[in-house]
Symmetry: C2
Subunit: 294 residues, 2 copies
């Protein structure tokens, strides 16, 4: 399951209410293009902002909308007991895998993060992916900690954060050395993903896959076919998008793209998060209209 | 109300359950020593980890235990609607003031943080304190943002993060210039507090006040009396404590002090947070036994 393109859609939150119909349409759209899995309730899916009940319903809607495509569900929370409840709910909803970031308020120690994964590993019967996203969790994994947690039962993947493109091949090589052989190596982020897939990463946990799934799939398939030139070309076409991600963060840009594509209203994030301002919206629109057909 | 010593007790969480009896005893202890206010559900009170229902009961218990002493209640949450519910619950519980940190998962913009405070300002009828704690929120306030939010109705205090001791007087002067005249200037943190109080800060939002209230009160009263030498002396006596705070974070050290004083069991934090390890516990014990009588 942790292979190819994993598409992470937004969870539209309209007037402080999750809109399951809009969400279902986003999931269907990515599944129909041919994503290998759907990632519900990732960072792009605003999981951290949602209540237990909201998350439960989003997970159920994702599984229903994805059809045959497996669904990975994000379960991160500040408190271990909430994470365990989320894991239980996600499995009841039919999740094929779990995505766990060590969300923090007090900065966490390595032992605390290892203990969190041990607790979830012991309570789960589906595969777990380590979600390393220091921008949102403010926890920095060492490679040794990947190895330690990767050795736990049910831990079958890691999602590593981006590095500069020039370091992609070397970074994939480094992580592969420390990871147990049966743990898939996943990438997220932006312009790092193409070269990382070309260098042998197994799976792209992709915000682009959730909003421009045809483009993300073409890039993924080219990488899987060993066609590094096409990967480079497709990734370069997305350079204006990567620039917007860098400047405004991928969530707000994705939110703007979704509204400009007519998939959601403009105000679709949970407050206090806000839509991009007008100038940035114009740049998103120009980026979209400049994109060559996929 | 935002004056003198505001004592922030732990919220003991034993086996994933808030222990209101232990919490009540901690509040009484600080109130009886003579703290000017009690800060319930601060970072030291683990508010970010607690459910709405748990927070409601903690706020009620604090108000009951504090007697005549006013209680400030922390209401931070990732989602604005949860913050507003927290503000409502805290006011129903009898809070005399609210403490609001811009808790984040996605890094927040200035506009988003200002919008959050505008929403709470519009919904509150008790004074609000801006809680600036970049270590846990990962949001950095500018002085201009203090000024902008400080001008909102009901915003009557700001709790600024520590700086190096040598900068205390200058920092207090800088913030005082930008703050509206009716907004109290509060400090938190550690060795910064004494000199900052001597330099004219109005209130010490104090984790030490929650666990060693006699010492925090002596220091506060000396500062209020303009006795900078005594402030310096009392703060220097606490140097081993400041060192432990720097090394392990104030929450875990305070948790260890509370257990070594027999006020709570050793494991009193919400998982995944863990008590200090054995070597650090020994150092906490040595620090406590080396303290001269207050």
């Amino acid at each position: 399951m942790f292979t190819g393109l994993s598409a992470f859609p937004l969870t539209p939150v309209i007037n402080d209410t999750v809109d399951l119909d809009l969400f279902t349409a986003l999931v269907r759209r990515a599944a129909e293009v041919g994503a290998d899995s759907i990632g519900a309730l990732g960072s792009t899916g605003s999981y951290a902002y949602l209540s237990r009940e909201e998350r439960r319903r989003v997970a159920e809607a994702a599984v229903q909308a994805a059809g045959e495509v497996p669904v990975i569900v994000g379960i991160g929370a500040l408190r271990t007991s909430d994470v365990l409840r989320g894991a239980e709910d996600a499995q009841h909803a039919g999740a094929a895998g779990l995505l766990l970031a060590p969300v923090s308020y007090q900065p966490l120690t390595e032992e605390e993060v290892a203990g969190l994964f041990e607790a979830v590993s012991a309570a789960s019967s589906v595969p777990i992916c380590i979600y390393d996203n220091p921008t949102t969790t403010r926890f920095t994994f060492t490679d040794e900690l990947y190895a330690r947690i990767g050795a736990l039962p049910h831990v079958e993947a890691v999602k590593i954060p981006p590095r500069p493109v020039a370091e992609a091949a070397e970074r994939i090589r480094q992580v592969r050395i420390v990871l147990p052989a049966d743990v898939a190596l996943g990438v997220s982020g932006d312009e790092f993903s193409g070269p990382a897939l070309s260098a042998g990463a197994d799976v792209w946990f992709s915000v682009v896959g959730g909003i421009l799934p045809d483009r993300a799939l073409a890039l993924t398939r080219a990488a899987q076919a060993g066609d590094a030139d096409t990967v480079r070309q497709l990734s370069e076409q997305l350079e204006p998008l990567w620039n917007l991600f860098r400047e405004f963060g991928s969530l707000r840009v994705t939110s703007a793209i979704a509204s400009q594509l007519g998939l959601v209203p403009q105000d679709n994030l949970p407050a206090p998060l806000r839509p991009l301002g007008e100038a940035a919206q114009v740049r998103v629109g120009r980026m979209l209209s400049d994109l060559e057909p996929a």
